[in-house]
């Protein structure tokens, strides 16, 4: 359940931004989560309420932007979709892939007042 630690980090980031950017309440938090990243969206949703309790984001809505996984094959050089870290190239079947996207875990937008 490392999602709990990640959300504690989110809470700290919100508190820091509230001081530097002068807001008191967070209404919406948008996270960009890659399909190959190590977080479970359901676990994030589950832990969110507990972690944000008594914070400036106590009633905030959590929304996700899912980023698809994509790799470049070292063998044939083509781009290939990736749903898992162990996926092989859809063009030539080789498994040496450079991951270009899908590992993201970021806060990208806040709606605040």
């Amino acid at each position: 359940m490392h999602e709990l630690s990640l959300l504690e980090n989110v809470r700290t980031i919100l508190e820091e931004h509230a001081r530097s950017q002068h807001f008191q309440i967070v209404d919406t938090i948008t996270l960009e989560i890659g399909a190959l990243s190590c977080v479970e969206l359901d676990a994030l949703r589950f832990a969110f309420e507990a972690v944000m309790k008594d914070s400036l984001a106590e009633h905030a809505e959590l929304t996700f932007k899912r980023i698809e996984g994509q790799g470049r094959c070292f063998e044939c050089g083509q781009l290939t979709p990736m749903r898992e870290l162990y996926d092989v190239c859809v063009h030539c079947g080789h498994f040496r892939l450079e991951i270009l996207s899908g590992l993201e875990m970021k806060i990208t937008e806040l709606k605040v007042r």
Partner: protein
């Protein structure tokens, strides 16, 4: 008069403007209202790009800098519970403790048992009990390093909490994550727990002396690990019986020499 706030003003616009509902208590929801020019919705959007691991990564960078400055070669050992991390460390210390200084940070949810086993070999060890937490983090390691007092040009082993999931995400400032997989587990673990095998630079297949008694296909396991992480370095050994142990200690010696060399002015 407004029935909620009691103000007698009908507003410059002459009508009430409901803005949105906010929960003033968990049970009651009031519509807010405002009047004319005062009625600007203060909500605004802030765009940002902040990694969810940014706090941990900042501490990890600080740790890594400290380790490089002091020639400390650091390994972060990860595995499921019972793969043999502590035994691997105890046997490693026996071989190398007179070659260079060694210190160990032990992570477990509870007990001092592992640190006691390490201390019995004569090297310094610090136990971190993570309580409910399922992994070590870089901030905790930074504090442990100060508490432990690590010598220059030494080897620091961090034994993470036995867990093949959560520790994969948390950089501690180590030179390498080393994942230990024992042959009493399934040979498909690299696929089942791909995040960890992707994050690790080295995989140790431990307890190979038990291969005749278990249904573990080493070649299949290696193929799976390379499918997740084509550049992973693989060692096969038995920590208790000593099979192939030299290969591991030689790898450690040469990695140590590189760390010391890069530290030297």
């Amino acid at each position: 008069m407004c029935g909620i706030c009691g103000c007698g003003d009908s507003g410059q616009s002459g009508k009430w403007v409901p803005v949105k509902s906010v929960n003033l208590s968990p049970l009651i929801s009031y519509p807010l209202h405002h009047h004319g020019e005062e009625s600007i919705d203060k909500s605004r959007l802030i765009q940002m790009e902040v990694d969810l691991l940014s706090k941990n990564d900042a501490y990890a960078t600080k740790n890594r800098h400290y380790f490089q400055q002091h020639g400390v070669f650091v390994l972060n050992l990860v595995s499921s519970p019972g793969a043999g991390k502590t035994t691997l460390l105890v046997e490693t210390i026996k071989v190398l403790k007179d070659v260079f200084p060694i210190a160990v940070i032990e992570g477990d949810q509870q007990t001092q048992h592992d640190a006691d086993r390490i201390r019995a070999t004569g090297v310094r060890a610090l136990q971190i009990n993570t309580g409910r937490a399922c992994h070590l983090d870089a901030q905790g390691i930074g504090e442990a390093v100060i508490q432990l007092g690590i010598e220059n040009n030494s080897f620091l082993a961090i034994e993470n909490v036995g867990n093949l999931v959560c520790p994969s995400a948390f950089d501690l400032g180590e030179a390498h994550k080393v994942v230990v997989l024992s042959v009493t587990e399934g040979d498909d673990k690299p696929l089942k727990y791909a995040d960890m095998f992707y994050a690790a630079d080295v995989m140790i297949i431990n307890k190979i002396d038990l291969l005749p008694y278990v249904d573990f296909d080493v070649a299949r396991c290696i193929a799976f690990a390379q499918q997740v992480n084509p550049s992973i370095h693989i060692l096969e050994l038995s920590a208790t019986k000593g099979d192939n142990f030299d290969e591991w200690t030689n790898w450690l010696r040469s990695s140590m020499q590189k760390a010391i060399k890069s530290h030297a002015p």
